[in-house]
């Protein structure tokens, strides 16, 4: 009896959270002119479409949002690849060597993630204007690649790699880069995936920074393009909702694919 009560409570909460997304998906499958048709009074048709059409999605392909979504993918992918290279080498530098000033360097890493990025986005954007990096992919990608939190996580993981392995590698004639490349990296796949997810989500969800730095048609990213469209007088809500679905499904697929590592990276940021 108690279990039934608990599952009903859970079900109600779950469905309440899901309704907005369900409504978005449903409306992405019907013409934009019908978005507000089934709301007064509310009926089951509000949340289900019996004759779904993909016209909104095909319209998306040629639209600004389609282009902007490709930009988001490009920027996020570049951030993950370059960011992982930068963060993993730094974490290796911190974990594998004893040197004077290591504490200081580690302090800088920690300090850099204590200052919230969004708060310094405005001063940073005035700097980027002087260096002409506005409306460039470089300008969009750069702030994502040096992620103090990712360095911190990777360092924690690297510290667990036994010194004997490194010694053995050195005796076999590996240079330090070889040790990093052939011993540390292959042993750290879970940590690298977790850090990669963090870098990806940072860029995919970014809004303040791309709004400040990349708003021309060639460099606009998905969320900014979507919010632009929303502000216009004659908004095609079918297109808005199709765009919202695509911008949600892409990270969802990535998170679901690496679910195990996602929970790991999320929980280790707070608990360990």
């Amino acid at each position: 009896m108690k279990r039934v009560g608990l599952s009903v409570a859970g079900g109600v909460v779950g469905i309440l959270f899901f309704l907005p997304l369900l409504w978005v998906v449903t409306n992405s499958l019907r013409p934009g002119s019908e978005t507000f048709a089934n709301l007064n009074p509310l009926s089951w048709q509000t949340f289900f479409e019996l004759r779904p059409t993909l016209t909104n999605y095909s319209a998306l392909l040629g639209s600004e949002i389609g282009r902007a979504t490709l930009n988001s993918i490009l920027v996020s992918a570049a951030t993950v690849v370059i960011g992982l290279a930068v963060c993993a080498t730094a974490a290796f530098g911190l974990a594998a060597f004893e040197f004077r000033g290591r504490g200081l360097v580690f302090g800088i890493v920690v300090l850099s993630f204590l200052v919230p990025f969004d708060a310094i986005a405005i001063p940073l954007s005035t700097m980027f204007r002087d260096w002409p990096l506005t409306n460039t992919f470089t300008g969009l990608v750069l702030p994502g690649i040096g992620n103090g939190m990712a360095i911190f996580l990777l360092r924690q993981f690297f510290l667990g790699i036994p010194a004997e392995l490194v010694e053995a590698g050195r005796l076999d004639g590996l240079g330090w880069f070889g040790v990093f490349r052939w011993i540390y990296l292959p042993l750290s796949k879970p940590a690298l995936i977790g850090a990669g997810l963090m870098l990806f989500l940072f860029q995919w969800q970014a809004y303040v920074w791309p709004l400040l730095i990349g708003t021309d048609a060639e460099h606009i990213v998905g969320p900014v393009a979507l919010s632009n469209l929303q502000g216009q007088n004659f908004t095609d809500y079918g297109l808005v909702f199709a765009g919202a679905v695509v911008l949600t499904v892409i990270p969802l697929v990535v998170i679901a694919g690496f679910q195990r590592y996602f929970v790991q990276s999320v929980s280790s940021t707070g608990l360990k």
């Binding site: 779950g14 730094a90 530098g93 969004d118 995919w204 709004l211 919010s227 929303q230 911008l247 969802l252």
Partner: protein
């Protein structure tokens, strides 16, 4: 030997250190420095203004309202989100049919980028949108939501909780699952009721993740920007003019970049004070 190690380590660290210094630390310092300068039309360039930008800010009615709105918002949104996340984490760690599915539905919105969520909710909150459709169905009168000075903050809090609660819940679920089964069973054998078990057993044992969630949630809520910029532009009558949006508005709509830098400094200082205060409080009652 150690010196050689240091050089090699530095080679590995260099790219990241350059990135962190140039992209995080220099702009923070530059905000502080620039906040003491202003543009002078007479002398054509930057002149030292001392605390002038700060006194200008504090003298302005808009800025003081913005601070007030931000503090009110902070005091409301954080307890709500932390309590709801905790209750949901407890609910979804009970053994019950469908718990995994329901939990997933709560977590799902965290995949939606915040700006996209704001766009979705801007349609939900329209006078003819989904929210009023639901109210109508329940027999309640339609509400103005974003255009009402008294409802706008509450509307933003609902939207931000939809985005955030699932995320914070993940930390708390992880914390609850680390509680040894024996501890929970012992409480059950002692005849503790569900409320007693939650307050006296689970709550003290998830203190660490709970403290983290409170602090991280507070920081993220102090930096809320996309929903304000997309939904309300700070209105009506400045009632949703949160500091982060005020900074942006000052820098780009008004073009007062030096005063905006002073406001960034105040925003970061405020964040640090609140977070330090929370840490203190949480350590205090240990």
């Amino acid at each position: 030997m150690r010196q050689r190690q240091g050089l090699i380590a530095l080679a590995f660290l260099a790219p990241a250190l350059v990135c962190l210094a140039v992209l995080r630390i220099v702009p923070a310092i530059s905000a502080v420095v620039e906040s003491f300068y202003s543009e002078s039309l007479l002398r054509g360039g930057r002149v030292f203004a001392g605390l002038g930008n700060y006194t200008d800010l504090l003298a302005g009615k808009e800025f003081r309202q913005s601070v007030g709105v931000t503090l009110l918002f902070t005091v409301l949104v954080n307890p709500i989100q932390v309590v709801v996340s905790f209750l949901l984490a407890v609910l979804f760690t009970q053994r019950a049919a469908g718990a995994r599915l329901w939990r997933t539905l709560v977590i799902l919105p965290i995949a939606t980028p915040p700006a996209v969520s704001a766009v979705i909710w801007s349609v939900i909150y329209r006078p003819d949108g989904l929210a009023n459709g639901v109210l109508e169905r329940l027999g309640l009168p339609a509400q103005p939501f974003l255009t009402s000075p008294s409802q706008v903050l509450a509307s933003l809090i609902v939207l931000l909780s939809w985005i955030g609660v699932g995320y914070w819940m993940l930390f708390l679920i992880a914390g609850i699952q680390e509680i040894p089964v024996e501890v929970r069973e012992a409480a059950l054998l002692d005849g503790a009721g569900p409320w007693r078990r939650m307050v006296s057993v689970i709550l003290p044992l998830v203190r660490r993740p709970l403290a983290f969630v409170l602090v991280a949630d507070t920081v993220s809520n102090l930096l809320v920007f996309a929903p304000v910029q997309i939904l309300t532009k700070g209105g009506p009558n400045g009632n949703s003019n949160l500091l982060m949006y005020d900074v942006y508005n000052r820098a780009y709509a008004i073009g007062d970049i030096h005063v905006a830098q002073a406001e960034v400094v105040i925003l970061v200082a405020l964040t640090l004070v609140i977070v330090a205060g929370q840490f203190r409080l949480l350590r205090g009652d240990q």
